[in-house]
Amino acid sequence: MKILGLHASNRTNELIEQQRPTMIANRTKNFRTGSLLFATACALLSTGCNKKESSNEIVIGEYGSLTGATATFGQSTKKGIEMAVDAINQSGGVLGKKLRIVIEDDQGKPDEAQTVVTKLINKDGVVAILGEIASSNSLAAAPVCQGSRIPMVSPGSTNPKVTAQGDYIFRVCFIDPFQGLVMAKFAANTLKLKKVAILRDIKSDYSVGLADFFKANFSKLGGTIATDISYSQGDKDFTAQLTAIKAQNPDGVFVPGYYTEVGLIARQARKLGITVPLMGGDGWDSSKLWEIGGEALNGCYYSNHYSVDDPNLILQKFVKDYKAKYGSTGDSLPDAMAALGYDAALVLADAMKRAGSSRPDSVRAALAQTKGFMGVTGNTTLDSNRNAVKPAVVLEVKVDEKGNGRNVFKETVAP
């Protein structure tokens, strides 16, 4: 069979040469039309902004990954937020107005997150924004919120850089320096591990941050890091990295990734004969993890924001309501993202009530004053860096041969 000769590429060049003059002419024309369109868009956008505070409802935006590789994060948060908004509206709303939530899907992609948040602010005229879970997506959208002076409350992004984007960015969860410490302590003191390998997702701000904090803390506690290697979100074959890890013979492997990849990693690790525990962070928290990883996940541990086994009354009521509302859809137990979504919406509503206004700047000031708010995931107090200081729990994963999983509470660590 033959090979494509030089002939074709010459012809292509000729074609391009012939078209060049018209292309230039078109470009000038396009530029003119483009600037006209841009001006119109600006005009439209500025009128869009004036829609705020007009009717007897307060519009809040939410962006999340309703589809994509981290889809259960977005879906769970959405359920939690909707439950909170329903509860608030049933008890009379905020400042005599009903809350209305506008939800956008960012497909779990940072650039999409930026686009949909811009749309929420400019087109829907929201006064505040809830979202995201994945830190890379929150980091992409935070500058938009900060630039438009719209407060953003992230339910579950744990990377420290998220709230460092500006004074309008808040979160209702702990941050990774703490989560890394919790898992390092658990590995060194509870599991008595000496030598741990790290397998991090190089494409995710969350995973890279958490791996670094784990590494620093575990070394400080006297452990050694056998090897520190990486994969990229979206990879499916991890056998090369896992074979390299196996050669180092570690007592445990720290995999601070998201559930889709972690499930496959667990499967492939067990297949290659790695029997030591795998450990991770709150990015594991999804029922999809059990489905993808199956029995390979038995004897693995991760840190999380809350455990459904906690006897706390507020939490147990939330679990009961959640079951009643979503149990029929096969989603009987709320995961941490649902609980954090619920809390994030309540913290925001509470700030509006205390501010006595839904103006973004007043809400921002009130949010910064949040102190001792009792929610599902515990007592929320925001520090001067707009991060919540909260305890973390460590959970053990147990999955049966049918892929039905549950998390068993191991210990709780206070900050």
């Binding site: 000769g5 074609l15 589809t67 994509g68 889809a71 990486s230 056998t239 090369a240 499930g263 004969g273």
Partner: protein, 299 residues
């Protein structure tokens, strides 16, 4: 040493998938001089057709091997029909236009399949049912699974069958004739339209087989899984010498090995980068690919 042999197995199982997908690129290129960019997405469709076939067949399951074969055949037939449709609707109308037009259409079809996949199948990853219960074997500390062995074995059986078809049958001969000279083949009484359609069907059913085989081994499928695999398989086809069936197999295996060795011994961050660097290096010294013959096209 044990680690090295384990990495060889890992590379072989990854490489045989690239090889299987690369065959489709190479066949279509050989016959039409078209780089069918939608091929990677046909591979994705293959995985999804397999997923649905496995779910439909679930109540009637007999023996793992027969189930797997049934799912694979169902997916190959479905993908073959899809390819027939794509060729008829998208490629045939522009067959006599410039090559650039066809290439752009191929990219368009690729994007269309990806977007349709996200709408129809949903953008979140799905779990592919375990058709073959996993068993592992050890040999001097090197671990094999039955799933990996099935992947490698089936891939090679399909490649041998393809080779027999192209070099030992009348239709295969016609296919080679079309690849040498379309007009001359037509003058010799070959129904070239049929041969070209057949090429698409065969290439796409191989990609479908690849999709099902990968999903047996790595059970997470999503609508964008074909993007990177398609690109890598294309690289494999070029590496081996595009238009050459053995070249595609060799290219696939080299690329799979290179990736695994880079990730296992070097830095996994540069896994893809180094794989592509190898491609550039080989093409610098052997522009026609490893097994490709540099031919001067007669004018």
């Amino acid at each position: 040493m044990q680690t090295f042999f384990q990495q060889l197995i890992n590379g072989l199982s990854l490489g045989s998938i690239y090889a299987l997908v690369a065959l489709g690129y190479t066949m279509v290129y050989g016959v039409l001089r078209l780089i069918n960019f939608a091929h990677g997405d046909v591979y994705m469709l293959g995985a999804y057709f397999g997923y649905y076939a496995a779910r439909i067949l679930h109540p009637y399951r007999v023996v793992p091997w027969i189930d797997t074969l049934a799912v694979m055949v169902a997916s190959m037939v479905a993908c073959g029909l899809t390819a027939l449709l794509i060729e008829r609707l998208a490629y045939r109308p522009v067959r006599h236009a410039s090559r650039l037009t066809m290439l752009i259409i191929a990219i368009g079809v690729s994007l269309l399949l990806e977007s349709l996949g996200q709408i129809v199948f949903g953008a979140d990853p799905k779990f592919f049912p375990q058709l073959i219960p996993e068993k592992t074997w050890r040999w001097h500390g090197v671990i094999f699974t039955n799933q990996e062995m099935v992947v490698i074995l089936v891939a090679f059986i399909l490649m041998v069958l393809l080779n027999l078809f192209v070099y030992r049958t009348r239709t295969g001969k016609a296919m080679r004739a079309v690849s040498f000279n379309l007009d001359a083949a037509k003058l010799m009484g070959i129904n070239t339209d049929r041969i070209i359609s057949l090429t698409f069907v065969i290439g796409s059913s191989l990609a479908a087989a690849g999709g099902v085989l990968v999903s047996i081994n790595i059970p997470g499928i999503d609508p964008l899984m074909g993007v990177m695999t398609g690109l890598k398989a294309f690289v494999a086809a070029v590496l081996g010498g595009i238009g050459n069936i053995f070249g595609a197999v060799l290219g696939g295996l080299i690329l799979g090995m290179a990736e695994v060795m880079v990730a296992g011994y070097g830095s996994s961050t540069y896994r893809d980068a180094i794989a592509f660097l190898i491609l550039i290096a080989i093409l610098l010294f052997k522009p026609a690919g490893i097994l490709g013959k540099g031919q001067v096209e007669k004018v």
